[in-house]
Amino acid sequence: MSQDYRIGGGQVDRTREITFRFNGKAMQGHPGDTLASALLANGQKLVGRSFKYHRPRGVFTSGSEEPNALVQLRSGAHQEPNTRATTVELFEGLSATSQNHRGPLEWDLMAVTDLMSPFLSAGFYYKTFMWPRAFWEKFYEPVIRSSAGLGRLSMQNDPDQYDKGFLHCDLLVVGAGPSGLMAALTAARSGARVILADEDFAPGGRLNAETLELGGMAGADWAAQVVAELVDMPNVRLMTRTTVYGAYDHGIYGALERCTDHLAESGGKPRQILWRIYSKRAVLAAGATERPIAFGNNDRPGVMMAGAVRAYVNRFGVTPGHHVAVFTNNDDGWRTAKDLTDKGVEVVAVIDSRDKPAVCEVPGARHVRGAAVMDTVGRKGIKSITLTDGQVIPVDCLAVSGGWNPNVHLTCHQRGRPEWRDDLQAFVPGGALPPGMAVAGAANGQMTLAAALAEGQAQAKAQLEALDHTVANVELLQAEDEPREAAAFWHVKDSKKRAWVDQQNDVTVKDVKLANREGFRSVELLKRYTTLGMATDQGKTSNIAGLAILAEEAGKTIPEVGTTIFRPPYTPVPMGALGGRARGKEFRPYRLTPSHKWAEENGATFVEVGNWLRAQWFVRDGEKGWRDSVDREVEMTRNSVGICDVTTLGKIDIQGRDAAEFLNKVYANGFAKLPVGKVRYGLMLREDGIAYDDGTTARMGENHFVMTTTTANAVVVFRRLEFARQCLWPNLDVHLISTTDGWAQFAVAGPNSRKLLQKVVDKEHDLSNEAFPFMACGEVMVCGGMPARLFRISFSGEMAYEIAVPARYGNSMMDVLMEAGREFDAVPYGTEALGVMRIEKGHAAGNELNGQTTAHNLGMGRMVSQKKECIGNVLSQRPEMVREDAVKLMGFKPVNPAEPLIAGMHFINRNAVANMDNDQGWMTSVAYSPSLGHSIGLGFVKSGDTRKGEILRAVSPVHGREVLVEVVSAHFIDPEGERLRA
């Protein structure tokens, strides 16, 4: 295909040719082209099919507001759906395919939907697919999903990298059009730190698309000159290909920089960067977006925005047609006619809805006053237009201008509410703008070049002065105040054919009227009922016309109807960019225990415990399933000695003269009288009296305690202690530091644990039961002079210790312990065996401390002191929480020892019906007890402490299972605690 529509001029580099493919067909363009301009240069008018009716559609605009020219870019895993051809920068080898058609683009089989359009009006789905109900999921939805819609995902992992970054500046300028450049130049020459961001790859905004002059210089040349000055300044960061998509609190802006989208390969660099820009002040110079007029068949390929036609002619040296007509309701549309004729393109007619003289000379063009386009002809590209006066004019392009809308989007991201201006027939920024933001240029309703430049300078000056910054004087060049008169004219009422308001969502004038008739009269309802203004373009070209037609139908003015509010993002932000590097394994990095390496080398299977990766069990040769390993670990520990890395428990070092008093306040049980060298179990309550967390706290010295928390609550308990220390009892002399990562801690449990430790702990320490009894603690030396801490505490119910060494020695310590334990056949055990042993012993854990249970439920009601001030004790005494018949933590064993139990089973009295009215409680934790040879369970049952020996039904309707269980003590093993104290 040759570039039949390429004309002279423009900013593309004609010395180089780029080959690209569209639907497999090779085409040529130049550096500086967008995919849209290159497609137009090659005469490719038809580029896609519409969302709902599969109507043939072409390029409609020249910017990010594009509703029609959405294409699938690249292939394989790099495939990206719904990219706007108007913003895609052309590169060598680019391959794009059109979307949403079955069969070739030219002969879409689904185009049949267009014939059914009388039945597919607004609210069609809601009205039609009501019955039969079951059809929705199985039939209607799949059919609709496959026939409607946009592009397709690759269904592969995104191979690109994304990054996040943070920037700071005095002044952020959003948009590098004339007012943005002027604002940036003023601030830059004043020495302020400036960030200038623009979504385009070529800064200059409309100056690149127009033939306007500044001080006798072409606008685009002036822009290039300013940009050249700015890029050399150390206090300026010019960010092209960067969309500022959201205005957030306190001067923070979100921006997406497309770093390698314009290259064939990313070369290992991040494809896009999501920037968080911290600005002291901002100037929004986002320009304006042209809006169409609705008339019959106004969606045919070749019908385009007049400003876009101008941009293709002036900037890209491409004409969208050879016989062009212009249809306008304002003076600006005439510029298109003039620029085209100046470039030698034939303009056959200018149709002005206003009955007024020509705005400028357009040689060779018919000027049709006070008329409108009523209909068009041409399936795959416009062939002729029919006017309201009956004239039929053959054309291959129709440029339409319905006036310009200031891009107020970012002003609305907080509390701004746009205000209507009659003279512009448009909304301008209004209400409370984001603090620190000023708006300049067309975005603020300054629609002429001279006014835009002046306001850009003035707003930058005002912003700098607000920061007490001196302001350099920048000469304002002479520029045009071009004619800009506009009339209110939104749709052609005489038109009998379907007239499109929102082309991306296939919403017609008729749909908007129907919505009004059916009572969807608020703009927000209109949007949701008709889908007007939804999807990738968010109604940038369609919203106002929709509002205007709604207002007309409802007999109101546009400001009375109001506008929907814009939310971030301004244009779509890929999920990949929002995720950044936090994906896959990096989404939530693992914390590894100090003995992780040892565990890996010794057959551990790991399990995620919060952020931690812990050894779950250690497989030995010949073991067929996890139960074999777990049962063995339990048996070997109970028979001799087992070792487990328990570093993940939270460890908080508490020091200060008032440390004991502080603990007394945060624990429900007493701590003030805990002697030095002793450990105590502690239960924390929430202020509402519910059990919160438990653990042991050791008194290492008069003013020094070491607290442990559960693994899950390590962070929140520490946070809460800081709250108690700073906010509730600010005068206590107490200091906290988390040492969870500082100490590697190992449980050494079993009847041979003392013998093992005696080999590791230096000889001067007496570990005999008399010298170091149950619940003793102290600082010791191990391995010939290495400091360690030793605690005689037990989670397993066996004689047991926990030994802590500095974390960097953790892996070696595991080696030392295992080596010393060789003669006792010491076994490493994982979290499963740990869990089995704690259930056998009847210790509560996360399943029991689940945020719904009280100390009373846990059988620890008497621990809650009423003689001291502590968190939770007041509300824990509320009548409902200390009921006699409250559920109590008990043990359960199956009457038939062969039957397994299931956690979550509910207890029902033997002769009662299994329903919630007869519910007696529930099973919280179950395990197979290798020590007892049958399954055991812990659970809560009403008045449990009085029901020992009773037989209940344990029912799980979910599993369809039922087991008869006997209520027993929760302490299955060693209820008297003889082993602990041995």
Binding site: G251, D688, C727, P730
Partner: protein, 95 residues
């Protein structure tokens, strides 16, 4: 959002953990006659003002200070940031 930490200067809100109404500082007297009622109000009842709101933020990714931040709930404007410990003392929790 940016919180101007009294000790560390402007810090991004992402470094903080939010707790809620700063009335949580005013923990009732556990020995008072109406302690149960007072703790009920302390635990469950909150004002929900449209406007200035004093609230607790914890600088967890920083120096672990609890702060009392006065924030306008309608605009997110922050008018005052104090160390919660100082506020607690002023409110009589220094006994």
């Amino acid at each position: 959002m940016i919180i101007h930490h009294p000790l560390l200067g402007p810090r991004d809100a992402a470094e903080f953990v939010y707790l809620g109404d700063a009335s949580l500082i005013d923990r009732p007297d556990w020995q008072a006659e109406d302690a149960a009622q007072a703790f009920h109000a302390y635990g469950y009842l909150r004002d929900n003002p449209a406007g200035a709101h004093q609230e607790l933020w914890y600088h967890e990714q920083g120096d672990r200070s609890w702060l009392v931040v006065t924030r306008d709930t309608t605009t997110h404007e922050i008018t005052q940031v104090e160390l919660a410990r100082d506020v607690a003392r002023v409110r009589g929790r220094d006994k």
